[in-house]
Symmetry: none
Subunit: 119 residues, 4 copies
Amino acid sequence: MIIKIDDYSDVPIYMQIRNQIVMGISSGELAPGEQLPTVRALALEMGINTMTVSKTYQILKQEGYILTDRKNGARVRDNITKSGVISEENKSELRRIVSEARISGVPKEDIIKLVKEYY
Amino acid sequence: MIIKIDDYSDVPIYMQIRNQIVMGISSGELAPGEQLPTVRALALEMGINTMTVSKTYQILKQEGYILTDRKNGARVRDNITKSGVISEENKSELRRIVSEARISGVPKEDIIKLVKEYY
Amino acid sequence: MIIKIDDYSDVPIYMQIRNQIVMGISSGELAPGEQLPTVRALALEMGINTMTVSKTYQILKQEGYILTDRKNGARVRDNITKSGVISEENKSELRRIVSEARISGVPKEDIIKLVKEYY
Amino acid sequence: MIIKIDDYSDVPIYMQIRNQIVMGISSGELAPGEQLPTVRALALEMGINTMTVSKTYQILKQEGYILTDRKNGARVRDNITKSGVISEENKSELRRIVSEARISGVPKEDIIKLVKEYY
DNA sequence: GTGGTCTAGACCACG
DNA sequence: GTGGTCTAGACCACG
């Protein structure tokens, strides 16, 4: 899986990586149980500090997306908890995006099409 | 229109205000041509720094949502440019949200329902 | 409130600080709404790195014990969520402690007395 | 006696095994004088490194819970020293657990009930 | 070899 | 002035 960092984004690097891994899990590109690169390997590959990658992995672990053990490094969990609900924060973000799209004259159907595509 | 600030949100205050005004425009609560409070009035009302509100207005102006003139303060533009497309940044955010919802076991229909509701 | 670090403990520094703040909140030594020292102040006072304190505050924030805002620094939350249950991890630890005490010939009553004292 | 390892726990494997053996001794599941499996047998059974089990046994021996001799392997001591007191470390841990429970709204009685159950 | 911890030091956005 | 982010580099326990 290829992870790209946008140096000019105001989203922190550790969060950009986190987001891309989450999207990779959702799309199936990262399968349940699949090994993630080691902290060092990913840091080296991306030219960033190990602490930054470490922070990403700790967040993903705490969110329940991955598991880490000292021996084997990090793996995608195969039994990710399904809350069945969208977080309030994401609802708020979604509302903002929909509002902006609406003002820009984007038809409701176009947004729904995107949702279906991303799902 | 009532604007609520969450002091403990990760979203900066100026952006929280900006987002709420944009959503107000989208929902029609803020009509085209409608006057916005002056920077000082809004800052006073919300108990925040005038610089913060000023930053919000500058962004809204630069994004094409409002017009400002020295005499009358700020007004909602009545001819907001309709690009017809969703920004790349918002697409990326939308994809992240949809991915997280999907992993959490939220049915596609629930997300679409939210989109329709917010639109 | 005085925080002491045991350099020889195998509990990480950020966790020692976290634990003492939690105990301070429980005992009432840190009142709801009370300001915590700034990250820099606490780091300076304890002779440790700001990153270490920052990590502590982020954990406390994520656990719902404190709130941070950019303006005022960190404060004890005044509406900490009450789950009403003991975490599985703490139950497991409690069981270990009780087992060790029992083997050491500590009467059940002595442990209960301690619990009452700490509560 | 069945020992379960959680590969993803923060508690090191050798300590997980140590804890379960101690709890086994406390509960009586492991009787005084009872033979423990050899290091190699236990390691093989659990699919872990012999060094890990060896470390566990060394700790248990040093703590006075077991005896080892080259001929017969390890046995539970039948005259474990009864200090009659809880170690400072365990007191500290107990205080942390009680504090967290209290903040979470767990009644004192629930904790005491657990203590009685585990004893 | 693996993740976890910590430091010293720097720069940043926010307000 | 505040917390947040990041780096370069180091050391550690675990297995």
